[in-house]
Each structure stands twice: as structure tokens, then as C-alpha cells.
Amino acid sequence: MNKAKIKRITGRTEFWIFLVLIIMCIAIQAVSGGQLFESNTVVTILRAMVVDGMFAMICLVVMVSGGFDLSFPAVAALAYSLSTTICVSMGWCNTNPIAGFLIAIVVGAVLGMFNGWIISNFKLNTMIITLGTQTFFVGITMGLLELKEITSTLPVGFRTFGESYLFEVQNSQGLRSTMTTMFIPFVLLCIVTSFVLNKTMFGRALYAIGGNEVSAERAGYNVKRVKFILYTVVGASAGFIGMIRVCMARQSIPKAMVGKEMTIIPAVILGGASIFGGEGSVFGTICAVAIITVVSNSMLLLGIDTYWQNFFNGLVILVGVTVSAIQAMRRRK
């Protein structure tokens, strides 16, 4: 390995965020008397990462393209609420959840298209646009359609799918934890995202547009089309992830997604994505989500009141953005 290569690796946010994750885990392991790496704790943390990690993936691709999506929680909420409501009233999904997932994906895609249409046709700040569509979608979910919470009446298909697990572990004290089946779609989504971003011309288009939109156009990309497809796919994925969440929580609550963007987006930025676009990777994002999940989940291990969770999350993010801002300043000098 030559010097340039080492420098390139250490110059990347991903490297540092990974290092922080490792050091933090070792520290917590030491302070908590070896509880963090107990099999059941690890499984619990991985389980807790599933939904946030998947949302982080879709945030990542949008941010790579230089956009900002505040509307994905609203899209997910509308998609899964509508889907479960339809399934309940039609009596579907009592054996398998496929129909429910399909409906959510279609609804998500339609909403995503709406975002995509506005964003690709009008030169507007994506953050403001998606703020508008977020409010609009929330209004549709709980105002126009008046979709209600579905808890005990949730079709059995979702329930059994959500309760299914890959394996079960037991720690020395006999505490059990199950590894949910939902971990598979999570891993798959990460792989697919990574593949799309790195190995397809579409993914390179996202980086190119995020880096310099005018140049991307000159280079021959159809920027409008790329953006439209991007937001449509992101919408469809949001619907899908929303359904995963419904299955895991075994309930469909339209309000449950409110404010989710405020915790996911900072995590993605912590993982090396830039709000100016063109930067970010799946690995870094996963590490950042892991850091935040580990911090939240090890409060108890460390004997800290769980009410401090938000505070520490905020602190981690604050430190993360400060460090990267200072790095950027140094680089400019």
C-alpha cells in the first residue's frame, strides 16, 4: 500500500466514522462490564437498526443527488396506512402480506412521482418543496382520507411476518432475543443501494448531478429524467419500508412517522453525506446509523436514564457536523 492510498482512505469520513464506532463500542463494552457484546444485546441493536437503516438508505441517495427529502416519513405513513386500511376492509393478507406490500409500494411510487414531477420541472429548493408535500401528504392521510390507527385488527399475515425470525440467541443470564426476518430486506436494500450507487450509470448520474448539475447535463445525462426516476423509486421504497415497520411493530399508526426525518437526515450527514450533494456512501451511512442506535441502546447498560437518549443523539450529531465542518475549513486553507 502506498502513501497516497493510505491518505485517500484516512481522508474519507467513512474511515473516521467507522473508527469512532469501533472505539465507542469498545468503550461501552468496558464501562458496562462486557454487556454490549452479549449476543442478545447485539441482536437487539441490529434489530433496532432495521427501519432507521433502511430510511437512511433512501435519504442517502437523495442527498447524493444534491437534494433534500423531508417528505419520506409522510409518504411512508400514507402508503402503509392506506395499504393496511384496504387490507383490513377487503379481508386481505390473512395468510401472507404480499398484497399489502404491493399496495404500499404503488402508493409510495405515486407520491414519489408527485415529488419527482415538481422537483424535475421547477428549479426550486428541494427542502422547501418536500416540506410542502410532506404537509400535504400528512393532510391527506389524516384529513382527507381520515385513516385510522389499526392495532388489534391488523391482518394476521403482517403479524406473523413481523413475528417471524431467523434465529434466536440467549445470553449467559438466559435473556432471549430473536433476529427478525426483516433483517434480510434491510441487508438487501443496503446491497442494492450500494450496487446502484457504485456500479450503475444511474448511480453515477446521481453523484454527477450532486457534484455539478450543469456539467452532468453537458456530459449527456437527462437530468430531469434521472431526478424523476429517483424520487419515484425513493417514494416506492418509502412505502415498502413503512410496511416493514408496520409488520415489526404489529400495528399501523398514521402518526408514528411524524418527525422521523429530523433523526434520519442528521444520521446520514454524520455518515459522510454532504447537504451540498455528491458525497456519501452506504458504508458510512450504516456506521452512522449504528453509532446512533448503539448510543440509544446502551443507555441502560451504562446506567443512564433513557430519557437522556435525545440529548446524547443530539450531542453525537453536533460533534459529528462540527468535526466535518472544521475539516472542510482546514482543507480550504
Partner: protein
């Protein structure tokens, strides 16, 4: 086959009734370097955009390799072998060199997946065209401007370019880098590619070009071999005026220096700089890009903070910690980049003019009357003949020259001892340039101490009573009065 690669005759183009191009004729020979020269706003860029298919011409005939071409689109221009390297280079700073080189041709080939090997092969092929060596995995944004430019050239060559148009490629290059660029250009020329080079720098044009086409006010006033021209004739064609060898002559120079810079050093930027400036003088500081001239100016204005050396104002040692302090010490600074450092474009002209003198126009507790702002702005509008019907219009509505007048008035409406002008006439048309120079002369004669920082040597020669030449962060020469000539400066600078 025709002797010429590209022939354009009788090209006309107007925007909203205003003639941007009037009956332009010129020819490009294959295997030659052709320079398109002219002052700002003469229609050079409009012409380039017509060649590259961004604009369509209103009238005229275009022949490419002897065949007439009626309608050019950007895609067709690429197919014909016309490649434009824009000033912004159209690169992706966040991607690697390899990706920057290969991405265009991969898109054109309609690929769906990324094949690293094919990308690498394409990138290597591109680099081999000019025998240029660079780390393919380096991030584009971290390269120097010169390297970025070479990458952009390599990329253009991938498309079997027959004509490469470079839009002011030397603007942000150091002398060494310019030499390297010219070497590449000659290499390409010798391989039969025509190069069209857009510039307004006399010495560069004479160094590199075989043919030259000079434009003024949308017309081409000269087209032919460069060697048939003398620099003097060239400047005449460019500006439409005989170049006079008049210097600015100082009238009332104070005995004691207003500003004294003593052994000032800013790490990695400039070293051991000392000079004095008196009232009524116009001191020129010149040097190539990266010579430390701008950093020196910023240090005098409180935006850079040299650790060593000292600055004296009227005999007193001062520490200039910020522009606010500089303003208190009666130092004004007209920045290099008007658009990002000088103006709030989307705000009224009046607010831009009065931005630094709000304290004077307001009362003790910071209350201000809009009428006072407008009145003050009107005074400057008259004094400086800023061409606008209403000072409440946005600064973005003005031409470059008038915008520069706003930036100047912003500082002149303060009570100043020292005025530093960094590139005062960059991107300014001839008329406004004269106005600005005349004003600066008047100011100096009224007792202001002026520093002009510029790499436009003719500007330095005509306007300065004394010149300091900087090179690699050090002062390497000083001359005054009639000793100041372009040739002498050039000798030292190289």
C-alpha cells in the same frame, strides 16, 4: 477538401433587437492555433456558443470541412468534432479523475452499468493522447486548476476532436502552468487538430497563435496571421484607441509615508515584504497568479493576519484585525471578484453603494432614512455616471463596468487615507475602464494614497507612479516614473 476546417461568413446574431454579432467572418485552419481576441462584451462568447450549437445564428454561412452546415445542435457539434472547454471546465469535483475522463463517453455509448475496467481503459487512452500522467484515483476537486484543465482537454480528445475551443484557459493559471498548457496546445496542433483560443492577453496571443481574429463591439475588425501584426496594432484593434505611452504623473506627494509595510510575512503566501506609500501616489503591485499579491492586499484589509512584520499608518504601528478595523483606519479595498466579494447583486444599487457608510447616514442610535440612502446613491450615480435610471433597481441589472463603479463608490463615500484596488478593471468595458482610471488619477491628485494590484501590465504602466513586482511571495523589483515599461516588468516577472 477545403484548406480551412471551419469557415464562418456573415454571421449575425441579435438578442431582443440588440446586435451581439454583426457580419462576423473568420476561418480556422487545421493544425493551427487561432486566437479569438477582444475586450469583454465584444461578442466572443456569443460566437463560441454559435459554433458549439448552444445558440442559433440569425444570418450567415458556416462551412465545416468545406461542407455547409445549416443548423448546429450541441450533439451535432460533438459529432462533427467540435469540443468546447468552458471556463468552468464542466468537471465533477466530487468524482475521481478516472470517472471525470470516462463518464462522458460512457454516457454517449449508452451504457447502463459501470465497468471499472472499461472506464480505466478509456481514462488511460485519454491521458495517453497528450502523454499526460496523473493519479487516476485522485479526487478531481483536489487537483490544481492546471491539472483540471489538462484532464478536461484529455476528455475532449476522446471524441476525435478536430477543433478544440478553449474559453480563456489561462485566467487562473500561474506562468509555469501556462507554459505547460501551451506546450500541450502545440503538441495537439502538430497532430493536426485546430485550436481556437479565446483570450485578451496580448503577450499570450503573440506567443501561441498562428492566426488571430480580433473582435470589437460584435464585429471582427481584424482576421489574419498573427505575425503580420505588431502588439501596438493589436491593442489598437482591440480597444479602438491608439495606445499612448502617457504615465500618470504625481502632483502632490507627501513627505511622510501614509502607509509603511515593514518586513511583513504571511506563512506560505509572501515573505519579507516592505514598502512605503505616500499621499498622492499610485503604487502598482503586480505579479503572476500565486505571487502573493492578493494575500498582501487582504493583509492590509484585515482579512489575512500575518504573524511577522508590522504595518504603520501615519507613523503609528497598527494591527489590522478585520475589515471593520481597516475601515476605522481609513483603508478601503475594492476586491478582486466583483460578483462574490464586491456586490449583493439581488439588492438595490443604492443599498450597495451605501453599505459601508450606513453609520454616516444614520443617527446616533442607528436609525436611517431611506431618502438619505437614495440621495447619497444619487450623488454617486451623477459623479460616476453610473448608467441606470433608478438607483432602486437591483445591482444585477447593470453591466460589469457600472457594477465596478458601484463597488468603488461604496468605498469612496467613506473618508479614506488609503485605497487598495485589486484588479479594478477586470471584466470592465473600455469606456468604463477609462472613467475608472481618470477617477483614480483625480483621487490621487486630491491627496489619496492608492494601491493598484493588477496583472494587466498596460494598466499598471499607464496608471502607476511606482511599481512593485512580486514573484513567489517576494518583492523582486521596483521601478518608478518613466522606468516603468511593460518589457521591464515582463523581464523581472518571468
Amino acid at each position: 477538401m477545403s484548406e480551412y476546417l471551419l469557415e464562418m461568413t456573415g454571421i449575425c446574431k441579435s438578442f431582443a433587437g440588440v446586435h451581439a454579432l454583426k457580419n462576423v467572418n473568420f476561418k480556422v485552419r487545421p493544425g493551427k492555433v487561432m486566437c479569438l481576441a477582444g475586450e469583454n462584451g465584444c461578442g466572443k462568447s456569443t460566437l463560441v456558443k454559435i459554433i458549439s450549437g448552444v445558440y442559433t445564428k440569425d444570418e450567415g454561412e458556416v462551412l465545416f470541412e468545406g461542407k455547409p452546415i445549416t443548423k448546429i445542435t450541441p450533439a451535432e457539434a460533438t459529432k462533427l468534432g467540435i469540443q468546447v472547454i468552458y471556463q468552468d471546465l464542466s468537471i465533477f469535483p466530487n468524482l475521481t479523475v478516472m470517472e471525470n475522463l470516462a463518464i462522458n463517453s460512457e454516457i454517449t455509448a449508452g451504457k447502463k452499468l459501470v465497468n471499472r475496467k472499461s472506464w480505466e481503459a478509456t481514462a488511460k487512452e485519454a491521458l495517453s493522447k497528450i502523454g499526460y500522467d496523473i493519479d487516476l484515483n485522485a479526487k478531481m476537486g483536489e487537483l490544481s486548476v492546471a491539472d483540471k484543465q489538462l484532464v478536461a482537454i484529455c476528455r475532449a480528445l476522446l471524441f476525435d476532436a478536430k477543433l478544440i475551443i478553449m474559453d480563456e484557459p489561462t485566467t487562473a493559471l500561474t506562468k509555469k502552468e501556462v507554459d505547460a498548457l501551451f506546450k500541450t496546445a502545440r503538441q495537439l496542433r502538430d497532430s493536426g487538430i485546430a485550436i481556437m483560443f479565446i483570450s485578451h492577453k496580448t503577450e499570450e496571443i503573440f506567443e501561441i497563435s498562428d492566426d488571430v481574429c480580433i473582435m470589437r463591439n460584435g464585429e471582427n475588425v481584424y482576421a489574419g496571421p498573427t505575425k503580420d501584426l505588431t502588439p501596438k496594432e493589436f491593442t489598437y484593434h482591440m480597444t479602438g484607441r491608439e495606445l499612448t505611452d502617457d504615465h500618470f504623473v504625481t502632483r502632490n506627494v507627501s513627505k511622510e509615508p501614509v502607509l509603511k509595510v515593514d518586513h511583513l510575512t504571511l506563512k506560505n503566501k509572501f515573505t519579507d515584504v516592505s514598502f512605503e506609500l505616500r499621499e498622492g501616489e499610485i503604487l502598482g503591485i503586480t505579479g503572476l497568479l500565486g505571487s502573493g499579491r492578493t494575500e498582501l492586499a487582504l493583509s492590509l484589509f484585515g482579512l489575512e493576519h500575518p504573524k511577522e512584520g508590522s504595518i504603520y499608518l501615519n507613523g503609528e504601528a497598527v494591527k489590522i484585525s478585520s475589515p471593520i478595523k481597516a475601515q476605522k483606519l481609513k483603508i478601503g479595498y475594492v476586491p478582486e471578484d466583483r460578483l462574490t466579494e464586491g456586490l449583493c447583486l439581488q439588492q438595490p444599487i443604492s443599498d450597495n453603494i451605501t453599505l459601508s457608510s450606513l453609520k454616516r447616514l444614520s443617527n446616533a442610535i442607528g436609525l436611517i432614512k431611506n431618502k438619505d440612502i437614495l440621495d447619497d446613491a444619487d450623488i454617486w450615480k451623477e459623479k460616476f455616471s453610473i448608467k441606470t435610471d433608478d438607483v432602486r433597481k437591483f445591482a444585477s441589472t447593470l453591466s460589469g463596468g457600472n457594477q465596478q463603479k458601484i463597488v468603488l463608490s461604496k468605498w469612496l463615500s467613506n473618508d479614506l487615507d488609503v485605497l487598495i484596488l485589486n484588479g479594478p478593471t477586470v471584466g470592465v468595458d473600455v469606456g468604463a475602464k477609462q472613467d475608472i482610471h481618470a477617477l483614480v488619477h483625480d483621487l490621487a491628485n486630491e491627496g489619496l494614497a492608492v494601491i493598484i494590484i493588477s496583472d494587466d501590465l498596460s494598466e499598471v504602466v499607464v496608471n502607476c507612479s511606482r511599481v512593485i513586482v512580486m514573484k513567489e511571495g517576494r518583492i523582486v523589483g521596483e521601478m518608478s516614473g518613466d522606468d516603468i515599461t511593460e518589457n521591464k516588468i515582463l523581464e523581472i516577472i518571468r
